[in-house]
Each structure stands twice: as C-alpha cells, then as structure tokens.
C-alpha cells in the first residue's frame, strides 16, 4: 500500500512516499509563488529522487524503480505545512504540529520534546505519553528566531545557506548580536563587516542569538530527554552546537533527514486513513 505526505513550507516543500509504512522515496524543492504548481513539482521531485535544496540524500532508499509512480497510485495523500490547504490532490490536511510530532517518533522512538525551526516560523512541541501532542508553542509573528533571519544574514555575508553552519564552527570569537530582529540583523551584520570582523565570528554570534530565542520557545512547553530538532535547521551544525551548549547536558538528537520529518508524519497519517478505509471495505 502506497501513501504520500506533502509538506508545503513557506520556503521549501517536501514529499515522502511510504510503501506499507516503509520509506520508498522522497524529494524536496523550493516553494514557488504558485502553490498548485509547487505541489505537483514536489511530487515529481520525489518520484525522480531529487533534493533540490541540500544536495545529497542522507536516508538509504530501496533500490527499486519509482519514477513511474503518480498520485493516482497512492492509497491516501495527506498535506501539511503552511500551504497544506491548497494542495489540490490531498485527501486530508493535518497541521504541521501533529505531523512533526508523528514524524519525529518514526525517526526517534521515545521523543519527548521537539524543536522545529522552519523558514518563517518556529515551534516547540511536547510529546505526551501516548505519542500525542501534549503542548506546543509557536512563533509565527516575528522573523527573529526563524530560518528567515539566517537567510538574511547569509545573504548579506554572501555565504550560501548550506555553508553557514560549518563556517561558523571555525569561529574563534562569538560576536554578540545585540538585536533579535531580523530586519536590524541585516544592518548589524553589515556594520560588523565594516569594522573588519570575520564572517565566521558574525555567524557564530547569529547562531547564538537564534539558539537563545528558539530554546526559550521549547522551554515554555517543557524541555526533556529525548530532545529532537526537526526542519531544515537540523542540518545547520553551527546552530545545533549552540543549542547543545545551552541545554544543560541534555543530548540533542537529530533525525537522519530533519527536513522531511513533517512530510513523513503526514505520510504516516495517510497510512492510518488508508488502512482504516481498507478495513471498512
């Protein structure tokens, strides 16, 4: 039985296909201005096995041909994320909070706290005893603790987004970012460059400012072992290490492919629905 999860994020879209609950294929693309087109394009990326955003695949995929698959082959499709309501071929849409909670458990059984840093919002989720969402907090009003802040600073420093993490680890001094506002961050980074500061030190300061901010959100709902970071930010080693410094010895667990956690959760929900229907028939 094939099921699909589609996560249309504000900046990137992901699609996961499961075969009887096992990962068959996935793909990622940048979210375009037209969500209808993006929905179809991310399905194409999954069946053609493309990850347009971060390059290489981190999850082992079964060595079978999948490029003939279409949405018609799916027993159920669930959409999630910021654009979830607009995916024309989805049978259901489920909030990204629920999908991240479900997907994180697939990657890390026994997870109790989740931090998801997305392109334009950040969420802290506490997982209940039965794997349900016990509590969550969300920042979607301010770009301060989101991927957008990192994008803006990476842009003024002329460093590709995928390289800011490794580069910041070479820092020898963390320059304090006095502002938490992404709009001011642009000016602050420019000013530091003018003063002759190094990019790696500016980025280290940026990651520290964001780490403080996003952790405050998780602490609101309760931070406990096992703590998992999801979203594209899970691939930013610089930010992850700054977060690790601030969680009192708690180990941060990263899913192998943090970007697809929401889409994977959606595909698992799709499997539930499809199985229920199969039983009903």
């Amino acid at each position: 039985m094939l099921t699909m999860g589609i996560d249309i994020g504000s900046r990137s879209s992901k699609c996961v296909v499961l075969e009887d609950g096992k990962l068959l294929t996935y793909g990622t693309i940048e979210t375009g201005p037209n969500i209808l087109k993006t929905s179809q394009a991310v399905v194409d990326a999954a069946v053609q096995r493309r990850t347009g955003l971060w390059g290489e695949y981190r999850m082992p995929l079964p060595d079978v041909k999948v490029d003939h698959l279409t949405i018609g082959d799916m027993a159920c499709i669930v959409s999630t994320g910021y654009g979830r309501a607009v995916v024309p071929f989805a049978h259901r849409s489920i909030t990204e909070i629920s999908c991240h909670c479900r997907g994180a458990q697939w990657f890390v059984p026994g997870v109790s706290s989740i931090l998801d840093v997305g392109g334009q919002d950040t969420k802290g989720i506490r997982v209940g005893a039965n794997g349900e969402v016990a509590d969550f907090a969300m920042n979607d009003k301010c770009a301060g603790g989101t991927g957008r802040f990192m994008e803006i600073v990476a842009d003024v420093l002329h460093v590709p987004l995928s390289e800011i993490g490794p580069l910041s680890l070479q820092s020898t001094k963390t320059l304090p970012f006095s502002t938490t506002c992404a709009a001011f961050g642009r000016g602050a980074a420019v000013a530091m460059r003018k003063e002759g500061e190094r990019k790696e030190d500016i980025l280290s300061g940026l990651h520290e400012a964001i780490a403080k901010r996003v952790l405050a959100l998780v602490k609101k709902v309760g931070l406990a072992d096992k703590f998992v970071i999801t979203g594209g930010i899970g691939r930013n080693v610089g930010l992850v290490s700054k977060i690790e410094e601030r969680v009192d010895g708690l180990k941060v667990t990263l899913p192998q492919e943090p970007m697809i956690v929401g889409a994977l959760g959606a595909a698992l929900f799709a499997l539930d629905t499809a199985q229920k229907q199969a039983r009903a028939n």
């Binding site: 770009a143 957008r148 502002t179 992404a182 709009a183 001011f184 000016g187 003018k194």
Partner: protein, 270 residues
C-alpha cells in the same frame, strides 16, 4: 552666543545652530560609513546658512544612536555628549512646552517619552528589539515599489480601500506586500501604502499608550514627515497631534539647547 547641536542618526546626521532662542540654521546629511565626516559637513553647511564661522560657535553637544567621537570633526573645546532621550525631550519642550508625551520616530529606532511640566523626562519606552515601529518598513517598501520615502505619506492619503497588513514583523510584511502587488489585479499602490502606514502607526500607538494617553502628543523624528502615519496616530488619539514643521531636527535642537546651557554656565563661572 551661537552654539551647535549635532544629532548622529542611524540614517541622517543633523546639525542645528542656536543663538539665544533663535534657530539660526540647520542641515541634514545622509550618514555615511563614518558619521564623523558627515558631522563636520553638517556643521559647515549650517554655518554657511548663518554666515557665522566655526570660531563663533562657543559650545557643542552631540547626541544620537551613533556614539562616534566627533571631537576632531567639530573642533570646539566645549563639547559634550547627551542621551538621545533627554535631547528629544528638550528639543520638543523648546518648541512646544505644552507637549506631555513625545513620540520620536527615526529611521530604525523609536521612542515614546512622558514629560513633566518643566520638560524633564519622567518615563520613556524604546523600540530597539523590533523594527516594526520605525521607519525601517518605509525603506523596504520604498525600495520594493520604487517610490521615494518622501512621497509615501501623501500618496497613501489617496487610498480608497486600505489594504490591512496582518504581519507585525517587517520581514514578514515584505512578503505580504509582495503578494499584494502580484495579485491579479494588483492592489493599488495607495491602498498598499495606507496599510503600511497603518501598521507602523498601530505599533507606535502601543508605545504611546504605555506612557499613558497624553493630553498633548508631539510627534517628531524624520518619519513624522509622513502625513499618512501622523493621521493614523491622530485617529487613535482622537484629536490633532503637535507636529513641528521640520520634525527631523528636534533631537539636534535639543542638543543645541543643552549646548546653550553649557555656554551660559561656562560664562557664569568665569
């Protein structure tokens, strides 16, 4: 005796020359990489308007968010620094002693100040963590729509159906505005601008309210030249606000008033 007040703003550097109660001249220049050069040039330009020479300036006070040493640039022995809040309060009180709350809106900072009856700062609140209640959004929109900041206020008054911005963050607002202008048909520019001005005004009004709703509100800083924002704040206030003719000079004027005080005290002690 002529004195000078210098305001090192994040976007513009201003100088105001004061003699007694008379404002003799004022100049504003875009702040470059080192505010020091602009400070020297602004003072020169203000001097040119007055026909005075640098030696005629007996005291100087510098203020503003950029704490750059301007000792060399100004070259006046009696030079001091004063805080931005006290200069705004003093400049506002000099022009409009009846003002009880002063709202200062600069390029990327803003401040609401409650004044005592004699023009002293009683309380103040600053906006330094978030760009939404400042001119930052105007700059972004100006670049996006290719409309000079100076024209955005008047143009917004032509709006017929102001487009409400749901974002309370300039970064997200940028994306939202982009969706307005790419709509089919696009939202008319005046309606977009009216929404932008409303968004900024709402944030600023929150700051004013934290100082208590004032009997007389004075709005100053460069952004006070935007009539759309001023009108939106007046709508919250329920009556007209006090707006100086050249609101961008109020902080520099306050610095000049402090310089005058310094100069008088200096003479008294001689």
């Amino acid at each position: 005796m002529a004195v000078v007040g210098i305001d090192l703003g994040s976007q513009n550097t201003k100088a105001v020359i004061l003699e007694g109660d008379e404002i003799l001249g004022g100049a504003s220049l875009e702040t470059g990489e080192s505010a020091e050069t602009e400070a020297r040039m602004a003072v020169q330009e203000a001097l040119r308007q007055t026909g005075l020479k640098r030696e005629d300036l007996k005291a100087a006070v510098a203020t503003g968010p950029l704490s750059v040493p301007v000792t060399k640039a100004v070259n006046i022995a009696a030079l001091k620094q004063r805080s931005a809040a006290s200069c705004i309060a003093t400049g506002a009180y000099f022009r409009f002693p009846q003002a009880r709350t002063v709202l200062y809106v600069g390029a990327d900072s803003s401040m609401a100040i409650r004044l005592s009856g004699d023009g002293q700062v009683e309380d103040s609140v600053k906006n330094e963590r978030c760009a939404v209640s400042s001119g930052a959004l105007l700059d972004i929109v100006s670049r996006m729509l290719e409309i000079p900041v100076a024209e955005m206020g008047a143009m917004s008054l032509q709006a017929t159906a102001p487009q409400t911005l749901s974002s309370r963050c300039v970064v997200f607002a940028e994306g939202e505005i982009l969706s307005f202008i790419h709509k089919n048909p696009p939202v008319p520019v005046p309606d977009v601008l009216a929404g932008v001005n409303q968004c900024i005004a709402d944030g600023l009004w929150g700051m004013v309210q934290r100082m208590g709703v004032p009997s007389e509100l004075l709005i100053c800083g460069g952004v006070a030249r935007n009539v759309g924002i001023v009108k939106a704040i007046e709508a919250h206030l329920g009556k007209p606000a006090l707006v100086p003719k050249q609101p961008q000079y109020v902080r520099a004027l306050g610095a000049a008033v402090f310089a005058r005080q310094m100069e008088r005290e200096g003479r008294a002690s001689c």
